[in-house]
Subunit: 251 residues, 2 copies
Amino acid sequence: MNAKHPVQTTEKTLTLVEELMGQGSCGVTELAAELDMGKSAVHNHLTTLQERGYVLKRGDEYQLGLKFLDIGGHVRKSTEFYQVAEPEVKSLAADTGELANLMVEEQGLGVYLMRSKGDMAVDIDTYAGMRTHLHTTALGKAILAHLSEERVEAIVERHGLERKTPQSIDTRAELFDALDEVRERGYAIDDGERVEGLRCIAAPVKRSSGAVLGSVSVSAPASRFSDDDLHAEPAERVLSAANVIELNMNY
Amino acid sequence: MNAKHPVQTTEKTLTLVEELMGQGSCGVTELAAELDMGKSAVHNHLTTLQERGYVLKRGDEYQLGLKFLDIGGHVRKSTEFYQVAEPEVKSLAADTGELANLMVEEQGLGVYLMRSKGDMAVDIDTYAGMRTHLHTTALGKAILAHLSEERVEAIVERHGLERKTPQSIDTRAELFDALDEVRERGYAIDDGERVEGLRCIAAPVKRSSGAVLGSVSVSAPASRFSDDDLHAEPAERVLSAANVIELNMNY
DNA sequence: ATAAGCGTTCTGGTTTACAGAACGAGACGA
DNA sequence: TCGTCTCGTTCTGTAAACCAGAACGCTTAT
């Protein structure tokens, strides 16, 4: 549902914050030009944000501060799912030596709640808090497979089916086929659909009611996740991690 | 410096966000009462924030979403100091088996940039992004010890010397004595000054210019950090971690 | 020297945020 | 079953405040 009486000033502030996140570090004039606002307006917003700790001034340039991490970290820490899953994702990373991830759905997008690196883990561009289209990752497909068809339709309607690599899913038919497969097999795979050469295997975590809470995964370069291996040990280990989390969530 | 023409609407939005962070989950009426605002104003702000992904509605209550973690995570990831220090803090935790931390100063407060748990690590209430008074932790004292005296004065002026436990520093004289000691010894210690029974040892990380970038630490229960041991292996290991980070920052 | 660029300050007109009242829906008890 | 209380939401006029634009120092480049 959209806001019937949105606060336009707040929208401007948020747009400014998001622009600053994209740019990294910016001057007043540059931001004003980028966002079609007057310099004074931009300046007023920035100084207000600075006073509250959300923005820092370094020389003549402004940049986002760590206050966002404070709030975000607090929100994450207060999440039961994160608290319960965290140790299990860590041991998943330790056991496999690869990169283990935890995802939840929010507003139709996938949010990485955490990532834990094992000894050999690849270092890709993800970070805790990062958002991604659900259809482009194994984690996302594991979640989508256990939402109602109308929820999935609504999400596709809202966010589209953008392609990240030539392997990405980009039609509804492909997506629904893939989700059927996930439900049958019990876990989802991603073979270079978001990052070329990266394979990923993910299992859903569900409440005993059947509602999906999120998903767990392990990512590794294709060279270490061969076609044969993929469906053996790694799948086994990811499913067991998901199962442990489910048990601990349901007490 | 304070904003000469602050955007009051933005301030209201931020106050609302911070209140929501404190409360966890709240209804419109409760928030309106808490903040002395009309219900319609609170509602307008919340729906605006919701539309942008910063706030979620669950039933009739509103709560903060993970968008803050997205922005905060992005800011952290873009920080050179974090990128460089991260692997070293991880191995510090792995080697000692305890809780290793990384802190930077922002707006006169200490911000935990990361925490990494070793096998036996205590689980305390800190989280990445959390802010704390600098004078209450070894990490903070390691930073303060390498700021100019007027910076330290300004920080004390701004944030005061609040006590967390009976052991906390709470006078300027005590603080400056402690900082002298830190400079002489090369590292800072905290013996139950923030959390009773928790000992902590921290070393500053400095640019070759002498400017302090932040600090690294290891925390453990007093039972595992005896008086004798504290200044031997742990101190050695923390100093070496700080040194490695310094070398990698300065290329 | 001069000019061009920046961030910052100032002001008034007009956009717009918001108090307060009214509405609809659900929960509860009589 | 009905009335009552409370919640989130919608609506409206008016008082407030956001902001374009111009002006001001300041630094840097020509």
